[in-house]
């Protein structure tokens, strides 16, 4: 089955990295096929940033998102720009301190997490994307927890691993809690 995931936010939030880690986790550590693409504006920080991941058990043809099953947004502008890509009944995951959903969100299953605030509590807002990946892993189950962590471990410089592990587990545990509360 083909699964389409879109990440959106601002340059500097680690949106590209989040997509790369997710796609690699699926392909290398979960043994599936995946395609990862990215798009960014000319500015390194502060401009729009988006990445796309397609996961499948079979060889992937069209490599980009057509109708996203999952949309993860970490800025209001990304919410405004990419919501139309999410298919009806799809899963919308938001950075709840930075994104205020409007009435259109009622068509989707919505999960929110204050990822940046959690990252700051851990020690650095730069790991907000990793908090988000933990949360995404827990609430969607698209990628296994082990695969996601291995992929993070390989992408992140060793000296930052401890902080990233805290961030990943914080997001993951929060996701599990949210799931329990909603069931």
């Amino acid at each position: 089955m083909r699964i389409e995931i879109k990440f959106g936010g601002l340059g500097g939030q680690g949106i590209i990295t989040a997509g790369y880690i997710t796609a690699k986790a699926a392909a290398i550590y979960d043994g599936k096929e995946s395609a990862f693409t990215q798009d960014y504006s000319a500015e390194a920080r502060g401009g729009a940033s988006t990445s796309e991941v397609v996961i499948s058990d079979e060889k992937i043809n069209y490599p980009q998102v057509l109708h996203a099953d999952y949309l993860i947004v970490m800025s209001q502008s990304a919410y405004n720009d990419y919501l139309y890509k999410l298919k009806k009944g799809g899963v919308l995951i938001i950075e709840e301190d930075l994104v205020k959903p409007d009435e259109r969100a009622k068509d989707f299953k919505v999960y929110g997490i204050p990822a940046t605030r959690f990252a700051e509590e851990i020690g650095n807002p730069i790991v907000a994307n990793i908090v988000m990946l933990g949360f995404f892993t827990a609430v969607t189950g698209v990628v296994s927890k082990e695969a996601m962590w291995k992929s993070i471990e390989e992408r992140i410089p060793k000296r930052f691993l401890e902080m990233n592990q805290k961030a990943f587990l914080k997001g993951y545990d929060y996701g599990q809690k949210i799931l329990q509360e909603s069931s």
Partner: protein, 373 residues
């Protein structure tokens, strides 16, 4: 590189594939979306005993690899957009002086500066006709990260075997897209080296062809008299500015490729048996076509995909083979469409896109529905 699975972009696969093929010299000038090839080569070539040079521009880059190739090394450069336009004069020089080189062109939205980060297929004709004069080159164009790696070995083999520039096309999508890739063991592929002279220095004329029309190539510094001139030359390599010398040389430069065209052709034929309509598509743009063909078949439309992997010399016999209608889906306003039209017996329709994005499966399917019988 250790055999196994990796998660690479098309750019990384192009660089690693080149190293796997035996490339040990790269000169280049970075330009989006090909820059990661230079970045990877800068990291990796020193690790395998090779050399990387960042040049002052694209003209210098291709000049440097032409020179380096005369030392006997396998060589490459990579560029995109305005960069490939700058390289075209020296592509002609490499064709004229029969120097094995590989040039990667990551096609982006164009003309001019166009869409630096986005996909285009506007350089398909330029790959063949970019330099002045009537000459043949070889051009290959993969559709996935895996095929980029695998096909790089063929690119170097062709360059070496036929002593010709190989234009290795990728596109903005493929260059930056990441996929899983398998790197085989070192000894899993055949690597071809250029023919060496069999006669000693003094007896060997450097442009004296064998029966296959390809002359053996000495290394510079081995004692052979090497005079490699862009002027029309005789078998010694000396300028001979006559219609007779031109007739002999240019005819041979073309024929050495044309006569071996069928050995060079690589084409994917997907569900083309008993098809009524076949989509011709190349590179990353062909991927959506496979989905559309499957969907169309479910709707009772006998559709297929013909994907030229060898773009030049154009694999025209595959077009002639099918008495069908053709749709040519390309990210330009009609290039390979004209080649297909030249050889097709049925109707040929152009499905163009000006650049920036691939055709979607839905767009291809929509076109195919018009051929429902």
């Amino acid at each position: 590189m250790k055999p196994g699975y990796y998660f690479w972009s098309g750019d990384i696969a192009a660089a690693e594939g080149a190293i796997f093929a035996g490339c040990r010299f790269y000169a280049g000038y970075p330009i989006t979306p090909s820059s990661e090839i230079a970045e990877r080569m800068a990291l990796r070539l020193p690790q395998v005993g090779g050399k990387f040079i960042e040049m002052e521009d694209e003209i210098g880059s291709i000049a440097a690899i032409i020179g380096a190739s005369w030392t006997g090394e396998k060589v490459m450069t990579a560029t995109s957009g305005p960069g490939i336009s700058l390289m075209n004069e020296n592509i002609g020089l490499a064709a004229m002086t029969e120097v094995p080189i590989v040039i990667v062109n990551a096609m982006r939205g164009a003309p001019s500066t166009g869409l630096p980060t986005l996909v285009g297929q506007g350089d398909l004709m330029q790959a063949k006709w970019g330099s002045h004069g009537s000459y043949e080159i070889i051009s290959l164009y993969p559709d996935s990260v895996q095929e980029t790696f695998d096909l790089m070995v063929d690119a170097f083999n062709y360059a070496e075997k036929y002593r010709v520039p190989v234009l290795f096309l990728i596109d903005g999508m493929l260059a930056h897209m990441y996929e899983k890739i398998y790197v085989p063991p070192e000894d899993a592929v055949e690597r071809i080296e250029r023919k060496r002279p069999t006669k000693p220095p003094g007896e060997q004329l450097i442009y004296e062809p064998d029966e296959d029309l390809i002359p053996p190539m000495p290394r510079i510094g081995e004692g052979y008299k090497i005079h490699a001139s862009g002027l029309t030359h005789n078998e010694k390599g000396y300028p001979e500015l006559t219609p007779q010398a031109q007739e002999r040389l240019i005819r041979r430069l073309n024929d050495k490729i044309r006569k071996h065209a069928e050995e060079i052709w690589k084409v994917e034929e997907y569900r083309t048996d008993n098809a009524d309509v076949i989509v011709v598509a190349m590179g990353s743009n062909a991927r959506a076509v496979r989905t559309a063909v499957d969907e169309a078949r479910k709707e009772g439309i006998k559709a297929g995909l013909l994907r030229p992997i060898t773009i030049w010399p154009f694999p025209y016999k595959y077009i002639e083979k099918y008495a069908v209608d053709y749709i040519v889906a390309e990210i330009n306003y009609g290039q390979i469409y004209h080649k297909v039209k030249e050889y097709a017996s049925g109707n040929v329709e152009l499905l163009p896109k000006m650049g920036g994005e691939l055709h979607t499966p839905q767009e291809i399917l929509h076109a195919l529905r018009r051929y429902k019988k």
